[in-house]
């Protein structure tokens, strides 16, 4: 529709909508951009104020400090490990369960379905789960990141619906050729489910990458802390400094020992850490966006 053909009020409305959408995108993007710029600017220079859209005193020292810090690097490794292992094992376990549940002749199928659905509405809550994890000996154990999240009932239902929609002929002909159920699952069902696995796998991976709360209650050992939790501790330390009027000062040496030598400020170091933590998501984001959107649609079809 041509702009010229529109009436007077419509023109105002369309212009207002475009202006509003641009402003909204600006507010969505500016915080990340500003953090990026602060992370690329010299800390003491940032402290003078006025750094907004462009670096004034460009430096990479904030990043080199972050990457030189053994504790942060270790935290990154933990996050990467838990994301990779956690996602792969969770998708494997959940699809396996979903494949079994998709068989109409499965004995006890009705019972199992109710058994799983109930947990979507009721749960024990924070403290009973905490006490359970404690009595299982999963405190300060890397497996606490993996095992409790192996089965997602929601994902299982989506997978099951998808598996049921696959043509039954494929499975039958494989079985006639002597393929067992395990063979069908591994060689036919999984390869055919690429897009669904990609979608739900991405959501699972993001949840692993972003999880900061579970480690704060289940992990006390520094060496097992994922990077989001470490970042939160840095922020707390910084907040404490700011409260005592010391935010332009150097960061709490407990976490970043080299900071004081290079006259870096906590703000610039935190910005660099934020960028490093969110960069993987920003980097893969353009390529996987269509899967995210698909994921919402898959989820909503279930309702």
């Amino acid at each position: 529709m041509l702009f010229k053909r529109l009436g007077y009020t419509d023109r105002i409305m369309i212009v207002a909508i475009y202006v509003f959408l641009i402003l909204l995108s600006f507010t969505a993007l500016y915080p990340f951009w500003n953090t990026l710029i602060v992370s690329l600017n010299e800390g003491l220079d940032t402290a003078k104020g006025g750094v907004t859209f462009w670096p004034r005193a460009f430096t990479l020292s904030n990043y080199s400090t972050v990457f030189a810090d053994d504790k942060l690097l270790n935290a990154f490794m933990i996050t990467i490990l838990r994301t990779v292992i956690g996602t792969i094992s969770a998708i494997f376990m959940t699809t396996m369960l979903a494949y079994g549940m998709s068989k109409s002749y499965l004995i006890g199928r009705k019972f199992f379905t109710i058994f799983f659905i109930v947990t979507m509405y009721f749960g024990g809550g924070l403290i009973p789960t905490f006490l359970l994890i404690k009595s299982l000996g999963l405190m300060n154990n890397f497996l606490v990141f993996i095992i409790p999240g192996l089965i997602s009932v929601w994902n299982m239902i989506i997978f099951r619906t998808f598996f049921k929609s696959l043509p039954a002929g494929l499975e039958e002909s494989a079985q006639i050729d002597g393929c067992s159920n395990w063979g069908v699952y591994l060689k036919i069902i999984l390869p055919l489910s690429g897009p669904v696995i990609a979608t739900l796998g991405l959501f699972t991976a993001i949840a692993h990458w972003n999880d900061w709360f579970a480690p704060t209650i289940y992990i006390t050992n520094q060496d097992l802390m994922p990077v989001q939790t470490v970042l939160r501790r840095l922020l707390n330390a910084n907040l404490f400094n700011e409260a005592s009027g010391n935010s332009t000062g150097t960061i709490n040496s407990l976490t970043l020992e080299t900071a004081s030598k290079k006259s870096l400020t906590s703000k610039s170091l935190i910005s660099a850490t934020i960028m490093v933590v969110s960069l993987p998501i920003i980097a893969v984001y353009p390529f996987v966006q269509k899967y995210f959107v698909k994921g919402v649609m898959v989820g909503s079809l279930k309702e």
Binding site: M13, F115, N181, N210, S278
Partner: protein, 326 residues
């Protein structure tokens, strides 16, 4: 014609043949053992991590000794003592008020916002422009609350935070305001951060609903000379109203979930507690951090029971409106 009763009919079949057709339960189970083995690990995991905590809820009715082992029944029963303690706690009304006010504010602002965004995006005819706007507005949704919180803190910081710089620049304030330590601003900051984070992603579902509107409705309206604004108001909104109502009612079911991670991250300053403490954060602080497990479980259970009641009512309402199309 001889009448054959069912009993006679079955007894006339030789016993051997029957056993071939109707295998025993265990034989059938054995034959599908491969499939059963795919299901059991999941059942076991869900039993451990979902059902055992449900049974752990019983500690809310006990005086729990933190040194008890796996058998919680070593602890003495105390009935509703912890529930009464919570209802009589000095913070009880503050916490209930904060919980309900915060979740109502989130609903009031956070619910219409993505619908409006979807309607605005629907008016955009430049496909690339639309795609860029969508990509940008979805992005914050995928960031953790730690990152969002730290970015918000940095923006609102008194030391060269962008917001204070902007307000000083346009002359609205003379002195920097420490937004995150003042009670007056907390609800606004919390709600707007939530809207900022979720608006784009939550608009997807409404975009899909709008895309499903029959285009001939718009064409007919255009021939009749309806303006774009009128089309929006008279066609788009009424057609997507059923889905709006259903989402609205389901959102009411979570009235006692005012948020948890966002509040933990944004309200680190203890002076904010009179406005920031909600049931979930209270359970975490008093129950877990102060190790009053039994009390925390009781408070959590209270929340869960009310939530299930609300959800049941909401579901009932959703079903009723689902039948009566707008």
């Amino acid at each position: 014609m001889s009448q054959v009763t069912a009993k006679e009919h079955y007894s006339s079949i030789p016993p051997k043949r029957r056993s071939v057709n109707e295998k025993s339960f265990f034989q059938r189970l054995w034959k599908q053992m491969d499939i059963q083995l795919m299901v059991w690990p999941g059942v076991l995991l869900i039993f451990i991590f979902a059902y055992i905590p449900m049974y752990g809820v019983l500690t809310g009715f006990m005086d729990y000794n933190i040194f008890t082992g796996a058998n919680i029944f070593e602890n003495p029963w105390v009935g509703f003592k912890h529930f009464e303690d919570f209802f009589n706690a000095p913070q009880f009304w503050t916490i209930m008020r904060n919980t309900i006010v915060i979740s109502l504010l989130k609903l009031l602002v956070g619910f219409p916002a993505p619908i409006l965004l979807a309607m605005m995006l629907n008016e955009v005819r430049h496909r690339n422009f639309k795609r860029v706007i969508q990509s940008i507005t979805y992005l914050p949704y995928f960031m953790s609350w730690v990152i969002v919180g730290s970015i918000v803190m940095s923006l609102l910081s008194t030391e060269n935070g962008s917001v204070n710089m902007l307000l000083k620049g346009i002359g609205a304030i003379d002195e920097s305001i420490n937004f995150l330590s003042m009670k007056d601003y907390f609800w606004a900051i919390l709600v707007s951060t939530n809207v900022w984070k979720d608006i784009g992603f939550n608009s997807i579902i409404f975009m899909a609903a709008i895309a499903g509107v029959n285009p001939s409705l718009y064409e007919a309206a255009e021939i009749d000379g309806a303006s774009r604004f009128k089309q929006m108001y008279l066609i788009t909104i009424p057609t997507i109203m059923p889905i709006i109502i259903i989402f609205m009612i389901l959102a009411m079911g979570s009235l006692l979930s005012a948020g948890f991670e966002d509040i933990l991250i944004l309200a680190q300053n203890p002076s904010l507690r009179p406005v920031s403490d909600v049931i979930d954060t209270y359970v975490y602080r008093v129950g877990l951090q102060n190790q009053r497990y039994d009390f925390g479980v009781a408070v959590g259970l209270f929340r869960a029971v009310v939530s299930v009641m609300l959800l049941t009512i909401a579901n009932y309402l959703a079903r009723r409106t689902g039948n009566s199309l707008w």
